[in-house]
């Protein structure tokens, strides 16, 4: 089966979710990846949405983080203050997904502004849960489409820190920390290293063991597409 760049991102991120992992997921690609993992190799993974739903099992992908189906299918619904205090800060989350407008070589993220903070060229939505997710979960997974605009030498604003970023899944490949900075460790099928370097605003290092991503299997693609009946930004 053929597949899109977004699909390979979702599939590759999903593969890295261990069965039983407790995942703090946002909307969009992270929600897609986490739900895919739950439908394939990680049926016991737990989806936690910051809206307060713990163990949500949506049949369709939610458009927003607070869709009703999340509450209806959850093991528990807690208030937002409880979610952030008892659950995220409580250190109970294994994997946190983050997106951003910009990332640097250390995995620091910007989701606040492009340009100067006081007179921004683009005012982005802001950090939301990211600053504390970035420090409060065991492993941070970043999902971000690869471009020089996004993979920058210097962030316009540091919204969250990269200390716990274990993997960055892009539409071209995968970056992981090696010797203190993110290096390319995987390329998706049909992508060559120059493409990834070209789309990166810093001098991207290639890991010594760069490998090709296994192409999405038919099973993965079917499971993924059956999820995508609702919008997924």
């Amino acid at each position: 089966m053929t597949y899109t760049a977004d699909e390979v991102m979702a599939v590759e991120a999903a593969r890295r979710i261990g069965d039983g992992a407790v995942c703090f997921v946002g909307i969009g690609l992270p929600s897609l990846a986490a739900n895919l993992a739950r439908r394939t190799h990680a049926p016991n993974s737990v989806l936690v949405y910051e809206s307060g739903t713990i163990g949500a099992k949506p049949y369709e992908l939610p458009l927003s983080i607070g869709d009703g189906e999340l509450a209806e299918t959850a093991d528990a619904v807690v208030t937002v203050p409880e979610m952030f205090a008892y659950w995220l800060q409580g250190g109970r989350i294994d994997v946190g997904f983050l997106g951003a407008a910009q990332i640097d070589r250390h995995g620091n993220l910007n989701s606040t502004v492009i340009g100067d903070y006081d007179r921004p060229a683009v005012r982005l939505p802001g950090g939301g849960g990211a600053p504390e997710i970035a420090l409060g979960v065991r492993d941070v997974f970043v999902m971000l489409r690869h471009s020089r605009r996004a993979f920058v030498e210097k962030l316009d604003f540091t919204t969250s820190l990269g200390d716990r970023v274990r993997v960055v899944v892009t539409d071209l490949g995968v970056l992981e920390p090696r010797d203190g900075e993110l290096a390319l460790t995987q390329l998706h099928p049909g992508v060559d290293p120059e493409q990834a370097c070209e789309a990166t605003g810093w001098d991207l290092r290639l890991a010594s063991d760069v490998r090709e991503t296994d192409p999405p299997s038919d099973e993965e693609l079917c499971a993924l597409r059956s999820l995508r009946t609702k919008g997924d930004a």
């Binding site: 869709d67 952030f84 007179r119």
Partner: protein, 269 residues
């Protein structure tokens, strides 16, 4: 205050210059109350909300707000809030001051406000550029010496939430995604709850919380008062509207025309 029309509640309880929070985490967002504030032409409001979305975009675009205290200001699952961006990037229709937090910080500030404490404590605001741009302080644990973050609590003049129903005494019941609605209401000096319906007696609902009448200011009956947000058990989220808002709100004139037709010309609840 008994059960009153929404227009009366807004007139009496929301004043120019007030700090006002219309809370809701995707679910139960009090759109109708926001529209009534717009119709009544309130100005210079400081708006607080974790996730300002379409109704705050509308209030900002209509010039109600002087300042926004928030942690994530976007159209969930869609993208930007264009009126918020226009205000911040271009000062239209007027400048908008920002006080920006993380979700964890806002949540702690709401809990602290509901608890009548002047600040909330959390592990957060460590590193990055946010601490320098917001109101946060470091605080030291007197027992372990650990450093933590302190955020000032939220204590709005008026807290406004929407819920499914109330009884005739004004006891309010709310279920589904609970957000920070209880905290918002308890942290506020005055409060307004819009409800889908009034019933004779509240019956138990799994996952529901009840806010007793004696902590609630005004209760106003506004069926579909959360639309295009949703009321769990009453109607679904109008995802198409959120998608459509992206185009409506990109252009100042299109935005004004839409507001004129759908809000200003609408009959108050």
């Amino acid at each position: 205050m008994p059960i009153v029309p929404l227009s009366d509640a807004i007139r009496e309880l929301v004043h120019d210059g007030d700090t006002v929070a219309l809370e809701g985490f995707t679910h139960l967002i009090p759109h109708a109350a926001g529209h009534e504030i717009i119709r009544q032409g309130r100005r210079d409001l400081t708006l607080i909300r974790m996730t300002p979305d379409v109704v705050y975009d509308q209030m900002i675009g209509m010039g109600c707000a002087r300042k926004l205290v928030f942690s994530w200001g976007g159209n969930p699952g869609v993208g930007s809030l264009h009126r918020l961006r226009d205000a911040v990037e271009n000062g239209w229709p007027g400048p908008l001051e920002l006080e920006e937090h993380s979700h964890a910080g806002m949540a702690a500030a709401w809990s602290a406000g509901a608890s009548n404490l002047p600040f909330g404590v959390l592990r957060g605001y460590e590193g990055g550029d946010l601490p320098a741009r917001t109101r946060v302080a470091r605080i030291t644990c007197p027992f372990t010496g650990e450093e933590l973050a302190a955020v000032p609590s939220h204590r709005p003049d008026v807290g406004i939430v929407h819920s499914q129903r109330a009884d005739r005494h004004g006891n309010v019941q709310l279920w589904g995604i609970l957000g920070v609605q209880k905290e918002c209401l308890l942290a506020s000096a005055r409060s307004i709850v819009t409800v889908e319906e009034i019933i004779d007696e509240l019956t138990p609902v799994a996952g529901a919380i009840v806010l007793p009448a004696w902590v609630v200011g005004a209760v106003c009956v506004v069926p579909r008062g959360a639309h295009p947000s949703y009321a769990h058990g009453y109607y679904d989220r109008d995802n198409d509207f959120y998608l459509a808002w992206d185009a409506i709100s990109r252009d100042r004139d299109a935005f004004r025309a839409w507001m004129d037709e759908h809000v200003l010309a609408a009959v108050p609840a």
